[in-house]
Amino acid sequence: MRKKILPYLLLSPMILIMGVLVFYPIIATFSYSLKKWKLTAPNDIHMVGLRNYAAILKSDSFWYSFQNTLFILAVVVLLTTVLGFLTSIFLNIDVKWSGILLAVAMLPWALPPYVNGILWKFVFSSGYGFMNKAVIGLGLADKPIEWLSSRWSLLFIVSLVVTWRSIPFTALVCLAGRQSIPGGLYEAARIDGGSKRTIFQMITLPLMLPFLAIGITSTSVTAINVFDEIIALSGYSDLGKNILVESYMTTFSFLDFGKGSAVTYLVMLFAGILGIFYLRSLNKEVEY
């Protein structure tokens, strides 16, 4: 009897926290999204069913933002995964100062996203920011380049900036994954005469897959939820807005809580679909 209760007992604090602070709020937000609720019309709040969703899905502005979100997602996930994995290999090399390198590698992560955005704005600013000083100084251009003034170059720079901040986590997860592979496996493989390449293909890569998966999941969530960097780099401009900026503007700037909640829900739905896809790969538990 005691044995049966124990797991639930162990899980109860987690369930309590998640229930109160995550599940309850998202249900509440869903109920907002079904209402006409504009703060500037406090006496006119009523249920409208799915009309908010219909209006959003019909607007060009939403689809424009959605494209931007997809672009950022694709670039960030690709770059972060590749570079994060490479960084983990680099950090895994045992040298005297590898501990310090690890600490250095973690630095971008500690930057608040908004500060991160400001920092890169200094680099890419259209006047004489670092990049322009560099390209002009090297004679690659004769006047400042406007890095942030066309849609795709802006989005690409946003993606780079987000990638820079996301690499540490992916690298750390890969590193942890790599090092949690029992050393015995490698020894056994070596004794069996496996070459470096086959060891990598047969042992390292498959055993690291679930870790890569969590890195990718986390990166995707970060990429979908990019907000501060966009604001820091391009303000509240239409040019680079993603769905989250759209949701923020609708809610906090235009004070339309009903519609804003609906946009937020669409972001979540989109992330959720990706999430279910990842869940499958995450649930393949590793057996050694």
Binding site: K4, L21, P25, L111, Y128, A176, Q179, S180, Y186, T251
Partner: protein, 279 residues
């Protein structure tokens, strides 16, 4: 061959350092550049006149900006502490149950937990605010930390349960046969072998907490509770864009997590290497 490898490593090292530290160095340069010189049209990288006024303003005790910054750092550290004390044990209990016990609804609970990873802050913040108002939890580091914990739990629990799963079941079974209870076998077998992942989890939580912005902005932005991330952003508002000061504050604000990463690294690396032979 060996020489080639060294060269390769050296090149990788240089690229790594430039890409990682470059933006910080540039920010540092800006923080010692006088405000008017920032707009100058020149390709010179270093300013003609170097000024440490920004740091002086932030670090001299008694100045208003300086004391706010220091308070912000202290607040962020407090939140980190509370988050770790609360989050690590909860995550460990959950991870242990999910990875090493069989019970009804295990997969469902695990999936429900994992899927919350995708929920953006925006989707929960307004109801959360209402809840915090109703319960008088606003501007309270403890309750703020519970929100942080709720957003880290899926990731941390997953990492830990993954790690716990790699510990051979036979070890624990043997201990149980020897008459150890679940608790003592957990303390004797699981805990000692899994401190690397616990320390990584702690570092992950530290760094994530350090960079929180939107949640504390809404739930804890009083002077006594707002973290340094918000303080730094406040140096840059509407009509007073103080780039130099913002840059200097950004540099100062990144020092504590940098120090933590440096101190942690010994445990982190030595711990991590415990299980693995280099391959």
């Amino acid at each position: 061959m060996k020489f080639g490898k060294k060269i390769g490593y050296f090149i990788a090292l240089v690229i790594f350092l430039i890409l990682t530290l470059g933006p910080f160095l540039w920010t540092f340069v800006l923080s010692i550049t006088p405000e008017y010189a920032m707009m100058e049209k020149t390709t010179r990288l270093l300013p003609e006149v170097i000024t440490y006024d920004n740091y002086r303003e932030l670090l001299t005790s008694g100045t208003q900006k300086g004391s706010i910054l220091i308070t912000g750092i202290r607040n962020a550290l407090k939140a980190v502490g509370a988050t770790l004390i609360l989050g690590i044990p909860i995550a460990m209990m959950s991870a242990y149950a999910l990875s090493r016990m069989e019970f009804k609804g295990r997969l469902l609970i695990k999936n429900l937990l994992l899927i919350t990873m995708v929920i953006p802050v925006m989707a929960t913040i307004i109801p959360l605010f209402r809840l915090f108002v109703a319960r008088q939890w606003l501007d309270d580091v403890f309750w703020l930390s519970t929100v942080y914990v709720s957003s880290y739990l899926p990731m941390i629990t997953w990492l830990m349960s993954n790690y716990f799963a790699t510990i051979p079941k036979e070890l624990e079974e043997a201990a149980q046969i020897d008459g150890c209870g679940r608790l003592s076998s957990f303390l004797r077998i699981i805990l000692p072998t899994s401190y690397p992942i616990i320390l990584s989890a702690a570092l992950i939580m530290f760094l994530n907490t350090w960079s929180q912005f939107q949640i504390p902005l809404i739930l804890a932005s009083s002077l006594e509770t707002k973290p340094v991330a918000i303080v730094v952003s406040e140096f840059m508002t509407k009509d007073s864009v103080q780039y130099g000061l913002t840059a200097a504050a950004g540099i100062i604000a990144v020092l504590p997590p940098a120090a933590a990463a440096l101190i942690f690294r010994r445990f982190l690396v030595s711990g991590m290497m415990g299980g693995a032979v280099k391959g």
